[in-house]
Symmetry: D2
Subunit: 141 residues, 4 copies
């Protein structure tokens, strides 16, 4: 299974008057963490979308549990990996730690979308390209 790891420095503007990260920012980091996961696995999203006629991997669900807070200047270790594969969906697990201590754990459930044949403005679920499962691991099909 392919795991992406990167470091994020908490900025002043990420924090709220309590001096801790304003929580929607963690979801912002989840979103960019998924982009980094694909990129580090050698998957260019624009190229993937083009070659497979995809409209992207829109989000069905997102969630996070918070067990600690972080503050201005903290360096967070961010991990992302695909924890579960469906035929047309996948779930990305995100973990954020500081000095090895888990602060936030969450997931994004995303769907593989193509333009709807009846109305290109709408989307339709499609099978995940094999190359995605190969590179991000765990595919046994």
């Amino acid at each position: 299974m392919f795991i992406s790891r990167r470091r994020i420095r908490v900025e002043w503007g990420d924090c709220d008057p309590a001096g801790i990260v304003f929580y929607p920012n963690y979801f912002r980091w989840f979103d960019s963490g998924t982009a980094v996961l694909f990129e580090e696995a050698g998957l260019s999203l624009p190229q993937l979308y083009r070659e497979h006629g995809l409209k992207g991997f829109p989000l069905l669900e997102a969630k996070a549990s918070f067990s600690g807070s972080s503050a201005f200047g903290d360096d967070l270790e961010c991990e992302a990996l695909v924890a579960e594969w469906g035929a047309k969906t996948f779930s990305v697990r995100h973990r954020m730690l500081r000095g090895g201590t888990l602060l936030v754990e969450g997931s994004e459930l995303r769907i593989c979308a193509i333009p709807h044949p009846d109305d290109p403005q709408r989307i339709k679920a499609a099978p995940i390209p094999a190359v995605v499962k190969e590179r991000l691991g765990g595919a046994k099909e």
Copy 2:
């Protein structure tokens, strides 16, 4: 049960290159929706914190399900209510609709926090003030 309703206009800067709301913004609206819920129920958060010696209502969990997208200029109807009460926690349910159609549903699990007696930098769970349950409804204790 007390329900808060407000309208949010989706702004240009809320949307991403796909032309739809960048999803962490929904959590931003959940957060402000909880503030509005308290305020509309006649509960001033600063006053509440002061009178009950609270450090606030930090977040334990947040989640959202997305069944539709919204775009620049959309007017979203936002509902918030406390869906569940624990002794020291409560869960706020948020719903966002457009023209009566549900687009996003989510929840925030929050805890009532006081300064920890051993270390005022840390927090400790505390019973939710009775006035909060009275005003936001559903308390049967």
Copy 3:
């Protein structure tokens, strides 16, 4: 001259660990203030772009002066008006006040853009549609 006035409530997530608005948010409000200015003057931006073949009104310059700070829960009165017209550019002046006291004053210099005839990916300056000057005032051409 057409003046748009709206009220903005400062949210928790708009503020930084100093307890005051994180300054890039004022520019976010400038941007949405310009959208509101057009809309209140009866100018639909999407329709305007479509009918005049515009790519929009991209920004050339933005600036702001800060004479006071604002905090969570503040209600800010926001004013926007076009302060200066060029043939192909215009400058929107933004003012943000609290209780009649000016806190922030700024401006955005924007250009009227059409697709470049040699390369539709690039843009080219174009004359501002007459209807824009009529509705937002001050046109004497």
Copy 4:
């Protein structure tokens, strides 16, 4: 003169429906760029504030000129330096380039603030600590 250089990757959520960076984000990067400038010069802001009794370096003015746009996935080279020193103020110049081409140039005018002797809630201008001028350069006093 001390110059800080760092690289920023433009994220999906930084961009708007036109596919380019939503401009307030450049000011967000200016703000964090100033923090990085101090840090790279060996100046810890929290320590500086503590040792000199400062309330920080609040912003008086911010401005930016935009000569090009940037999009998702772009790597921006960000430069920051103090371009001008007053007795109690200083101006940070920020430049953002892609592949050596200047896209955005801006500045922040900041003041050195201490608590006001009559009212600690308010601030008062104070001389910039000598160590700041020494480390960030150009001081000839």
